[in-house]
């Protein structure tokens, strides 16, 4: 019998995902240490405008002579922070709503779940466009809230299904017979059993939110300039594609690498945590 950590490490893809995610998170968190320049500093508009990649500027420089490598590092910091917080928010809301639907009366359950059906029918970007059209000039905090509050629908469905199946299990009946309160039952008995599927969803969700935030920032309605984010750097790069393709290219590679990492980790966690798939 191997421990959980050993099983996780033994799984080749999970290991790759774990390494990739750890390195990226570390580099993003310590961006000021790794970045050779300030991400918003216009270095020299005369000699360093749109320089191609070179030892001094590994990813080249942009229109305002800023160092693209430093911008990608700092952009990763913003993108990862937004994704982590938004996913934390949506997982929390999704778990609570799913739990309420699972233990609630038939009316509560069907009202909540039909609302979720409707929300899931609107393609996510369109839903975000509707919200962002109403709240103009959102800051980073508001963006996190909006991404979080539009991302919990799937989780609530998953949690509800788990709660419904757990409800019929012996240990829940036993706890219930002992007269334990609903909230206590949830925290002490249901939550630990929900942890595995929720952790998997959260891990895969981080990759997903990174893609969505990048998309919004690319459209110009996510993270706004001059704050660097991967999506907004790509947007700046698109107009200069013919003269300085490196501006748009590098942040894209960073996104792919990050999302691959979180997907590998999430899939691996599912294989390791879910006894049915072992």
């Amino acid at each position: 019998m191997k421990t959980f950590a050993q099983r996780l490490w033994w799984h080749r893809r999970t290991r790759a995902g774990l390494l990739l995610v750890s390195i990226l998170v570390l580099v993003a968190a310590l961006a000021p240490l790794f970045a050779p320049y300030d991400p918003t500093e216009q270095l020299d508009l005369v000699t360093r405008q749109m320089n191609p990649p070179s030892p001094a500027h590994p990813f080249g420089t942009d229109f305002f002579s800023r160092d693209v490598f430093s911008r990608v590092l700092y952009g990763g910091r913003i993108s990862l922070a937004i994704a982590f917080l938004a996913v934390f928010l949506s997982i929390t809301v999704g778990t609570i709503v799913g739990w309420l639907a699972g233990i609630g009366s038939r009316v509560v359950d069907s009202v909540l779940m039909r609302t979720v059906d409707a929300a899931l029918a609107i393609p996510r970007i369109f839903l975000l466009l509707v919200v962002l059209a109403l709240w103009n000039d959102v800051g980073i905090t508001a963006l996190i809230m909006i991404l979080g509050f539009t991302g919990w629908f799937g989780t609530s469905r998953l949690v509800r299904a788990e709660v419904l199946s757990l409800r019929e299990r012996g240990f829940i009946h036993a706890a219930h017979a002992l007269g334990i309160g609903k909230l206590r039952l949830f925290i002490r008995h249901l939550l630990p059993n929900l942890a595995a599927p929720v952790i998997v969803t959260a891990t895969l969700g981080v990759g997903h939110v990174i893609l969505i935030e990048a998309g919004l920032s690319f459209l110009g309605i996510g993270v706004r300039p001059p704050t660097p984010s991967w999506g907004s750097i790509i947007q700046e790069g698109q107009s200069l594609l013919a003269i300085a393709p490196w501006i748009a290219a590098f942040p894209g590679f960073a996104i792919v690498l990050t999302v691959v990492g979180f997907s590998l980790l999430g899939d691996g966690l599912r294989d390791t945590l879910d006894p049915r798939s072992r």
């Binding site: 393609p123 990048a214 996104i255």
Partner: protein, 325 residues
């Protein structure tokens, strides 16, 4: 069966109704007067259009009455007025629908062709080296931001090689003077890059789905029985396994639509493709709220419709589901 179909149609209508309610709630949750910003932006203060909109919305009335008015206008197909285009939202949106549908259908075909091929190749020999390699391919495809892939394609095929046009649905200068065949060709060359971009990224999820479906079927007794009868591996695979493994793809038609339409917003922006998504994004910057909400509702209706069609198709394709319910 008729009861089941009626029930599914009813369910679909309920969801569309709820989507409309959701946009109404969002509009009223937002801070301030939804018309204030539009008023400033369009410089149409005190204009007849604005007054009509306010009257239509009955902003002075109690909220439940506003809600009933809103719904009854929706039922009549009135989505409100576009301030920027100075015409009904429906007119602005209607013109864009064929373009988005064309893009979505072309992308879906590419998505299914590539995704199913990869998935079948994987599911036939699960755990093999080729399975491993292909799942890395589909994982990477899944992780590529669709708009970035579009930009990279632009860089390669439009900027560097000059094989394909960089954007739009048709050539603005040459198109009117082209022959019928020339026009079709012009449209196809403009469609190629956006459709391939959208289709490739979508293929990743299709491949995953198809791999699981194929693995499911290949373990079943009738496949083993066919093998035991000594049928050639190729026949077993194509005639017995694949035919059954393709059934679930019908469901995927409904499932992939939301992802496809979300992706279309970004791809249309990259390639200046005059579709629904591009219209919605442009309208955000013009503070033309009702165009955005109208486009969102329409996209949701497409998703609900797609799911309905998928369910009905499944009923036709799989005789086993007909007896139930």
């Amino acid at each position: 069966m008729a009861r089941f179909i009626a029930l599914r149609i009813l369910q679909a209508l309920v969801i569309v109704f709820l989507v409309a309610t959701l946009t109404f709630v969002l509009l009223h949750l937002a801070p301030g007067d939804p018309f204030g910003a539009q008023l400033e932006m369009s410089g149409l203060a005190n204009s007849e259009l604005l007054e009509r909109q306010r009257r239509n919305f009955g902003l002075d009335r109690p909220i439940y009455e506003q809600y009933v008015r809103y719904l009854s206008r929706l039922v009549r197909g009135d989505l409100g007025v576009s301030f920027a285009e100075r015409r009904p939202v429906w007119d602005a949106i209607r013109a864009r629908i064929p373009n988005t549908l064309l893009l979505a259908v072309a992308a879906l075909l590419i998505d299914f062709a590539i995704g199913i091929s990869i998935g079948v190749a994987q599911g036939t020999r699960p755990g093999s080296r080729s399975d491993d390699a292909l799942s890395l391919v589909s994982l990477t495809l899944f992780s590529i931001p669709v708009f970035w892939l579009g930009i990279m394609f632009l860089l390669i095929f439009a900027e560097a090689l000059h094989w394909l046009p960089a954007g739009g649905a048709t050539d603005p200068v040459a198109y009117p003077g082209l022959s019928a065949l020339g026009r079709v060709w012009d449209r196809l060359t403009h469609l190629a890059l956006p459709a391939v971009t959208l289709g490739l990224v979508g293929a990743a999820s299709t491949a995953r789905f198809q791999r699981a479906a194929m693995m499911d079927v290949i373990r079943q007794d009738f496949v083993r029985a066919a093998r035991a009868r000594g049928l050639p591996a190729r026949t077993v695979l194509l005639r017995h396994a694949l035919r059954n493994a393709l059934l679930p793809v019908v469901t995927l038609l409904g499932l992939s639509l939301p992802i496809l339409l979300s992706g279309a917003v970004l791809v249309e922006t990259v390639f200046a493709w005059p579709g629904l998504g591009k219209l919605a994004v442009d309208s955000i910057f013009k503070r033309d709220y009702f165009v955005v909400s109208g486009a969102a509702m329409l996209s949701a209706a497409m998703v609900v419709g797609g799911n309905l069609v998928a369910d009905l198709l499944y009923l036709v394709a799989d005789p086993r589901t007909r007896g139930e319910r």
